[in-house]
Amino acid sequence: MINIVKHRYLYFAISLIVILPGIAALMVWGLPAGIDFSGGSLLEIRFNSALPETEPVLDTLSGFGFSDAKIQTAGSDKLIIRTKVMDEGTLASVLTEIETEFKADIELDRFESVGPSIGKEVALRAAGAVGLAALGILLYITYAFRGVKHAFRYGVAAILAMLHDVVLVLGVEAMLGHFLGWEADSLFLTALLTIIGFSVHDSIVVFDRIRENERIYRKKPYETIVNMSIVQTLARSINTQLTVMFTLLSLVIFGGSTIRHFVLILLIGVFSGTYSSIFNASPILVVWENKEWKTWFKRSPA
């Protein structure tokens, strides 16, 4: 039988190596807040005629007082423009101005505008939603495993594995935000919460097997039981991971550009969720059972 629990510190180390750059990115660059959270306006303009250079468009926008506008090209025929809050009347004038100045045939594909105060409130509530989800799940697991010794530990281990996924995804988003200009919007939040649900979903399947095996093999050491449970559920973990990845990949490849960002984040998170439930959540139970932290900082006998 493969021994996953034996090499637990190796797997913890792998997690750290993957997560640390993300944490650094988060601290240095921060999470790129989209207009849903920071307030502002977003215009997505499709050009049926030739796409103009971004510099002159920026000049046009400055003429309306939007000198801090950010412009990105998307695909071969689109400009995505981000500005501070623009009202609908100004929008109409801006569009007309672009049409006449660049002799362009344009179509407004998307216009979003979020007031700054609501942005802040959304961000606060979003953090609240994540916290509430974590609490709800912790309570549920403690309840579902109430017959087991140290039921609370299972809840904490699942939450730790979940935090692993949340931090990883936040870190990746911070890096993508810095290098590719991605922004965290309410869809990103939706992805994050879904990942939380999935991560815990996976952890519970393994925990459930531990619960069952503990009853059958009373004499075996806890470490063996945990490893046995991980290995027994390995095929299931991988296969479910595969089916979810199939659907997500098909959305990334064939779905529209509007949700590509959302689906990619889900893909990363779901993958991380499976990893953390196999290699982190259950091994944490073993670390806790053996109270291994007592020996972490002691010099090993030479």
Binding site: E107, I137, G197, V205, E212
Partner: protein
């Protein structure tokens, strides 16, 4: 009837009903007084349109009653219907916000100005009408020259019977409004005018003392006081048979137009029709491909049970879509993503069960027994893991409702429905199908069919 066969009939009924509901161009169901239209509701991001989130423009600690929000919602709904948008949605989101969705609307400027427009208040000259004639006009709609001046030119004859009254000035001239009581403790609404308004009012009341000056809100006469003396100070009062409440209501209407709560736009989103259509087509293709790959994988990996799980998966897709159409759930892009994702999750229960079944088979159990053990032992995992997903869905839904973030709401609702339906199809339906097959084929001779 065997225990395992009792679900055959319900499953067949469910399948038939689902297929019926999913019929394209459904005529709807009309039985006696029961009417229900059945069609796939597509969200703004798929059909294009304008969405706006309005917020009460009052200090955060000001108390806003839910009746006021309801009234505001109704008034906005009336205005929106005036735009001629079909299937517009006007919903209260949280305590102080109203979400407006206008599918198909392309011009956000026009849409929003219609929504935000305050009602029109006019001071109308009733001239020499007698008290009795005036009392007949109270609470009825009248025509004034202010409103008809713009579109009068072409339609001359149609309304020649109805008198057109002269508008002296509009609510734009009002600066402040309040409620007081007079010497006899009767409630009255007092107002203060802008300098220009004061001038007009002074001239008019001086020349027309003793005549009736009606107060008209959105064409409806709400009060018709007699001018008792010239009003020169730019202040006036409206008395009538007011109660405290009706006086307050009138003063609010004068201040903000007909909306009982002043509203400001805090968020808007406009999606062009091309982008919407493009997204819909692409996600449908993605969904079909995703479903096919998952089905192929299940059939190849789990053989016979896999094919049965695939049948259950098709049932799952049919039932979920039928539910979306029946409830109805408005399908947004993330909603479709949630549904496609739930296809991957829906087979998780089957994967859990089949892995368990294989273990029991390897341990030397008979196929019948392995199936039974597989289901029983996989159930706690299926239950616990799905409940945790449902908990997240509930929290997401709550988050989406407070902010009118319909995309988040749509996603959580479709995912939650998917989880619930999959519990039935993956657990009960798969089991029933498998037993149905076992009763007719001697699988015991072909353990390979189970991938063992």
């Amino acid at each position: 009837m065997k225990r395992n066969q009792r679900w055959i009939l319900p499953i067949l009924i469910l399948l038939t009903v689902s297929i019926y509901i999913n019929l394209p161009n459904h005529p709807g169901i009309h039985l006696g007084s029961f009417h229900k239209d059945i069609k796939t509701q597509l969200g703004l991001d798929l059909v294009g349109g304008v969405q706006a989130l309005l917020e009460a423009d009052l200090p955060p600690d000001a108390e806003i009653t839910s009746e006021n929000m309801q009234t505001a919602r109704r008034i906005i709904e009336d205005r929106v219907n005036g735009l001629g948008v079909s299937e517009a949605v006007v919903q209260i989101a949280g305590d102080r916000r109203i979400l407006v969705e206008l599918p198909g609307q392309r011009d956000p400027d026009q849409a929003l100005s219609t929504i935000k427009d305050t009602a029109l208040l006019e001071f109308v000259d009733f001239g020499d009408l007698s008290t009795q004639e005036v009392s007949l006009l109270i609470n009825t709609k009248i025509n004034t020259d202010y409103q008809t001046s713009s579109d009068q030119n072409e339609s001359g004859s149609s309304s020649s019977d109805d008198p057109v009254f002269h508008t002296v000035m509009t609510g734009a001239s009002i600066k402040q409004v309040g409620v007081t009581t007079d010497a006899l403790r009767r409630y009255q609404v007092v107002f203060e005018l802008t300098p220009e308004g004061s001038q007009i009012f002074k001239e008019y009341t001086t020349n027309n003392t003793g005549k009736i000056l009606a107060i008209v809100l959105d064409n409806e006469v709400i009060s018709a006081p007699r001018i008792e003396e010239p009003i020169t100070a730019g202040r006036g009062s409206i008395s009538g048979n007011f109660t405290d409440e009706s006086a307050q209501n009138l003063s609010i209407q004068l201040r903000y137009g007909a909306l009982p709560v002043p509203l400001k736009v805090v968020q808007t989103e406009t999606i062009g029709p091309t982008l919407g259509e493009d997204s819909l087509d692409k996600s449908l293709v993605a969904g079909i491909i995703g479903l096919s790959v998952v089905m192929l994988f299940m059939a190849l990996y789990y053989r016979l049970p896999g094919i049965i799980a695939d049948l259950a998966l098709l049932l799952y897709a049919l039932v979920t879509l039928a539910l979306f159409r029946w409830i109805p759930v408005t399908l947004t892009l993330p909603g479709i993503a949630g549904f496609v994702l739930s296809i991957g999750v829906a087979v998780d229960a089957n994967v859990l069960i089949f892995e368990r079944m294989k273990e029991e088979l390897r341990a030397g159990n008979s196929i019948e027994r392995a199936i039974s053990l597989g289901w029983d032992r996989a159930w706690p995992s299926i239950r616990d893991s799905n409940i945790s997903t449902l908990i997240t869905c509930i929290i997401l839904y709550w988050f989406g409702s407070t902010f009118g973030a319909s995309i988040v709401k749509g996603f959580s609702l479709t995912l939650a429905l998917g989880v619930l339906v999959s519990l039935f199809t993956a657990v009960t339906a798969t089991r029933t199908f498998l037993h149905l097959l076992l009763d007719n084929i001697k699988v015991t001779k072909h353990p390979k069919l189970f991938g063992v």
